[in-house]
Structures are given as structure tokens and as C-alpha cells.
């Protein structure tokens, strides 16, 4: 592992009296597939929200490729090269799949109102680029057949894929996937796993939150475990699997101690 991509230094998020994320340090290197796991309410999504600018960290700092992104707005962070998907899919439901992806190209195109009204060269170049690349992405994900379908009416698994496709349109360096396999059947999960591996090979760095342990253990090179906002373990799947604290977080103290 070489270049440092995303770094969290003692990041905390406090909502009133509740510390949702407590002093978390994290280092994600370029080319990694990094997993974040933890029981419900551990602060995983809150942590994601801080990385993407939806929340501002109460304490600590976040760096992306050496740049301080702690206080940046989410659209600025997206422009730097971080995109995400959401736990509860946030597609533009009443737009079709192609339109959804076309919106994703927003920061890679630059025409303004005047270009649009007068159909200048820049506008034509932009639209051509959007069309061509959208089709490439659709093909890559095998979504061609769905191109003109209303996004909100698609099956759940396909919606997840469309959301990933839209994130790819931004051409990010780092993709944050929030429970990508939630609600998918084992077949879909396997194909998703293959797909994420492919993305990784294409040079995208990926951080994902997931509850499906098989999925995470097989896919991720490094895993961080959160519990009640605190980081309790970090390392390869082997390390995490054998960690006492992780077992306690998931199964409780009684059982593990009792057997041991």
C-alpha cells in the first residue's frame, strides 16, 4: 500500500448529549477496499456523513489526499473526488436511469445557461460526452435494458446498481458505499462483489459499510470495527475475526467468556 487517500484524525461527532462517533482514527490507502462494520447504531453512517460533508465533525480532522476537508461542503468534496451512495437509496425517482446518470456528469461538464440557449460548441461537446460516457457506464454495469425506465420503479437490486452507476459518472477517486448489499439476494450479492472487485481493479479506492459478514470478509483488505462510536479493532479480516472485542460487541460478553 502506497499513497494515503483518506485520513481521519481523532474525529468525533456529538449530537447534544450523544457521542455518535468518538475519536476515530482511520487511514485508507490508494487502491484499497476498506470495510467498516459494527452493530446497529455504531456510528458508521454518521462517520460516512462526515467524510462526505453532510455533517461537520465536532472534533478532529479529515484529510483527503492531504487536503483538509473537515469543514468543506459536500458538493466541494464531491468535486475533489469523493462520491457516495446512500443506505436508503437516493435516486432521482421520477427521472429515468439515463437521466440519473447524466446528472452525475455535472462536475465533469461546464456549459452554462448561455451555452444551453445558443447551443454553442461547448454545449454540444458536453452533451456528446455525457451521452457517450453514460452509455459506457450503463454497459459496464449491464443496465442497458433499463436506460429509459423510471428509476423509482426498478427492482431494489437494480436501483442499487443505478446508484453506483451514478456515482461512477462523477469519476471519483474514492467511492463510499453505504450498505451496498442490503436487501439483495445471495446471487445479487455475489455479482455485486465481483463488480466491486472490478471497480477496484480499474483504480477506484472503495470504502464500504456492510452488515453481510461474508461479503465484507471476502472483499475487504482492511476492516475497521466501530461500536458505540468507538473504534474497537482494525486490520485484515483474519485479525478482525479473531478479535475478542469484536466478538463481545456482536455476541455479548457472557457467551464468549463462558465458552472461553
Amino acid at each position: 500500500m502506497n499513497e494515503l487517500m483518506l485520513e481521519a484524525k481523532g474525529v468525533s461527532k456529538i449530537f447534544g448529549g450523544l457521542t455518535a462517533v468518538d475519536q476515530v482514527d482511520m487511514k485508507v490507502y490508494k487502491g484499497d477496499i476498506f470495510g467498516i462494520i459494527g452493530p446497529n447504531g455504531a456510528g458508521k453512517t454518521t462517520f460516512f456523513n462526515m467524510c462526505t460533508g453532510f455533517y461537520t465533525a465536532s472534533k478532529g480532522k479529515l484529510f483527503f489526499e492531504g487536503k483538509d476537508i473537515t469543514k468543506m461542503s459536500s458538493d466541494r468534496i464531491a468535486q475533489l473526488g469523493i462520491t457516495r451512495t446512500f443506505q436508503n437509496i437516493k435516486l432521482f425517482k421520477y427521472m429515468n436511469v439515463l437521466e440519473n446518470i447524466a446528472v452525475g456528469f455535472h462536475i465533469n461538464t461546464c456549459s452554462n445557461v448561455f451555452d444551453a440557449v445558443f447551443h454553442t460548441k461547448r454545449y454540444k461537446k458536453d452533451e456528446e460526452h455525457v451521452m457517450q460516457k453514460s452509455m459506457e457506464i450503463l454497459k459496464k454495469l449491464g443496465l442497458q435494458d433499463y436506460a429509459y425506465m423510471m428509476a423509482g420503479k426498478l427492482p431494489y437490486g437494480i436501483q442499487r446498481k443505478v446508484e453506483i452507476a451514478r456515482a461512477l459518472a462523477v469519476n471519483p477517486k474514492l467511492i463510499l458505499l453505504d450498505e451496498p448489499a442490503a436487501g439483495m439476494n445471495p446471487m445479487e450479492t455475489d455479482s455485486l462483489m465481483e463488480f466491486i472487485r472490478l471497480l477496484n481493479k480499474d483504480g477506484y479506492t472503495i470504502i464500504l459499510i456492510e452488515h453481510d459478514m461474508k461479503f465484507v470478509m471476502n472483499l475487504c483488505n482492511n476492516i475497521m470495527v466501530l461500536n458505540f462510536g468507538k473504534k474497537i479493532c482494525e486490520g485484515t479480516s483474519e485479525v478482525v475475526r479473531n478479535d475478542q472485542n469484536v466478538k463481545e460487541a456482536y455476541f455479548g460478553k457472557g457467551l464468549t467468556r463462558g465458552i472461553a
Binding site: 462520491t83 455535472h106 456549459s111 451555452d115
Partner: protein, 345 residues
């Protein structure tokens, strides 16, 4: 499922429509032309409001304010500075757009009713300024003696001649809005309307695009106002009351927000209802109120609106009471109508 027309057929239909529109003053009587002119005026302003409310999902109730700014700017330019109508029209729109930006900036973080309250307040402030700043706006006396412009030596006064100015502006409005809606900017507006969180995560600056959206809408509302002043030859603040703003809003809602055709259908239906029921005196406005209530109940997405839209509501998506042919849903394929030309395979 998707309604697609051949591009050439579409062009031909458009051409025929435009030619027919051009013939109207020769066919219809002068009194009907007055109504047609007022419809044309409302088309521009309802279309402008539709850009703000329909396409980016903001809640602007104060469109009459921008209308007022445009009209007074035009009137003052013509009366005090003796600027020609043809030169004054663009500054009127631009000035309204600047005011639009000034309203958009403090309301960036607001949504729904809060936004509506601010814009209602703004509309009233504009009217009260027009009413009370006597030295500039003539106060209650308004601004009199505005002349309809000359077009290369041709008089344009009177409804059947001024109609052509309105027609040209409406076509220009449609042309430019259609192009903006089907561009990167239009897609960003619609993304904000559909889900602002997702839009942000894709790098769309909500602030910037909301401001652009407001400015674009305000610009055309200002142009509509600028056209009104020389047409009526006299303006005062009574043209720009909140009632007027709500009338325009109801036209947009009846027609269908977020569709280009919507405001046009809405304005036409509303105006013909108001004029057709003239025998009933002021009671005819009750019919309008009932129409709005009925629309909210039966077809909240509007006459031209698609049953598969945010506005349709969950209840109506499954059982639409009034089923219209898909022809009415012209914007069925809004964002990628131009994109859609390429083949998938």
C-alpha cells in the same frame, strides 16, 4: 410506454401552430384579441414561475414582485429617460433578475412554507414601494402616457397589433427555456427538486443553482412586466397585488408544474373560465377556487403533469381519476430527450 414523436413531424406541427398563431388577429375580433393578449402575458409569467416552482422545486409565491419590478423599470425607462422600448426590454428583465438574486441569496437554506412566506413578503414590499415612492413611481397615480413602440414604422398599439410582440416573446421564452431545461443546468435543477442530498453528493452546488434558477425565472417575469407597461399604456401598483401572484400560481398548478406545456394549458383554461363566466360577476372567481380544489383532489400534478411525478402523490399514482392521453405529457422524457437520440446496444 414512452411517447415519442418523429422529429420532423414535431417540427411541422410546431410550424403550423406558429403560422396559425400569426393569423389569429385576422380571424378573431378585437375584444377576443384582448383576452388572447392577456393570455400571452400570463403565459410568459406563468412559465417563469414554473421554472422556479416546477423545475427546481422551490416555493416562490411572490412572482408578482418580479412582474412589478419589470413593469416599473420599463415604465420609468420610457417615461423619465425616454429610452426606446426595444432597448429598454432587456434591462428591465436584467434588473428583475438582479432583484431575484437578492431574494434568492438570503432564502437559500429555506424550504417549503418558509420560502413561501419570504416571497409573499417580498411581493408586497415591491408593491408598497411602487405605491409609496411617489417621486419615482408616481405613487397612487401610477405612470401614465406610455406609448406602444413603433416597429420599423409600423404602429403596435392595440391588442391585435401588440399581440405580435407578445407572440414573439412567448416563442422566445419557450425556445430558450426548452433548451435550458434540456441542458446540464436543467438537469441540475431537477436533481435538486427530486433529492437535494443526492444532488449535493454528486457535486451540484445547491446555492449556485438555486440562485441561477431564481434569476432565470425573475428575468422572464421582468420581461413579462416590461411588455405589460406599454401595452396598457398606464401602470399602477394595483396590477401587482398578491392576488395577481396567487392567480398566476394557480394557473401553474392547474396546468401542471414541471412541464413546459403545463403553464400554457393552465393559463388558457383559467383565462377562458374567468372570461367565459363573466355574466356571473365577481362570483366567477368561486369557480376558479373550486377548480383549484378539485385539481388538488383529483390531479395534483396538474392537467399536463405526469402521473409518475413527485407532485402526483402516492394516492394518485395508483389510481388516476382523470386519465389524459400521453400526448399531454410532453415532458415525459425531459432530461434526455436530446440525449435519447443515440442508440443503446
Amino acid at each position: 410506454m414512452m411517447y415519442k414523436m418523429d422529429a420532423n413531424v414535431k417540427k411541422a406541427i410546431m410550424l403550423v401552430t406558429v403560422i396559425m398563431m400569426c393569423m389569429l388577429p385576422h380571424i378573431l375580433s378585437k375584444s377576443i384579441m384582448t383576452i388572447v393578449c392577456s393570455i400571452m402575458g400570463y403565459l410568459i409569467i406563468a412559465g417563469a414561475l414554473n421554472v422556479i416552482n416546477g423545475y427546481s422545486g422551490q416555493m416562490c409565491f411572490g412572482i408578482a414582485g418580479f412582474y412589478c419590478v419589470g413593469a416599473y423599470t420599463m415604465a420609468i425607462l420610457m417615461n423619465t429617460f425616454h429610452v426606446s422600448f426595444w432597448i429598454g426590454i432587456i434591462p428591465s428583465g436584467l434588473f428583475a433578475a438582479i432583484i431575484g438574486a437578492l431574494i434568492a441569496i438570503p432564502t437559500l437554506k429555506m424550504k417549503g412554507m418558509f420560502m413561501a412566506m419570504i416571497t409573499i413578503g417580498f411581493s408586497e414590499v415591491m408593491r408598497l414601494i411602487a405605491l409609496n415612492w411617489t417621486s419615482v413611481t408616481g405613487g397612487t397615480m401610477g405612470i401614465k402616457g406610455l406609448k406602444a413602440p413603433m416597429f420599423f414604422g409600423l404602429k403596435t398599439s392595440g391588442a391585435s397589433r401588440y399581440y405580435y410582440i407578445y407572440l414573439a416573446t412567448v416563442l422566445l421564452f419557450l425556445f430558450s427555456t426548452d433548451r435550458v431545461i434540456h441542458s446540464r443546468i436543467g438537469r441540475a435543477w431537477m436533481a435538486i427538486r427530486e433529492d437535494d442530498m443526492a444532488a449535493k453528493s454528486l457535486g451540484i452546488s445547491l446555492n449556485l443553482y438555486k440562485i441561477i434558477n431564481f434569476m432565470y425565472g425573475a428575468f422572464w417575469a421582468g420581461i413579462a412586466g416590461a411588455l405589460l407597461a406599454p401595452y396598457k399604456t398606464y401602470i399602477d401598483s394595483a396590477y401587482f397585488t398578491l392576488d395577481e401572484g396567487f392567480n398566476i400560481l394557480s394557473m401553474v398548478i392547474i396546468g401542471g408544474q414541471g412541464t413546459l406545456a403545463g403553464p400554457f394549458i393552465g393559463v388558457t383554461v383559467y383565462q377562458f373560465l374567468v372570461e367565459g363566466l363573466r355574466f356571473a360577476g365577481v362570483w366567477r372567481y368561486i369557480a376558479c377556487a373550486i377548480l383549484i380544489i378539485a385539481m388538488m383532489w383529483l390531479r395534483p400534478q396538474g392537467l399536463a403533469g405526469n402521473s409518475e411525478s413527485v407532485l402526483a402523490g402516492k394516492k394518485n399514482r395508483s389510481r388516476s381519476f382523470i386519465k389524459l392521453p400521453e400526448v399531454f405529457s410532453l415532458d415525459r422524457t425531459f432530461g434526455t430527450r436530446r440525449l435519447g437520440k443515440a442508440n443503446i446496444g
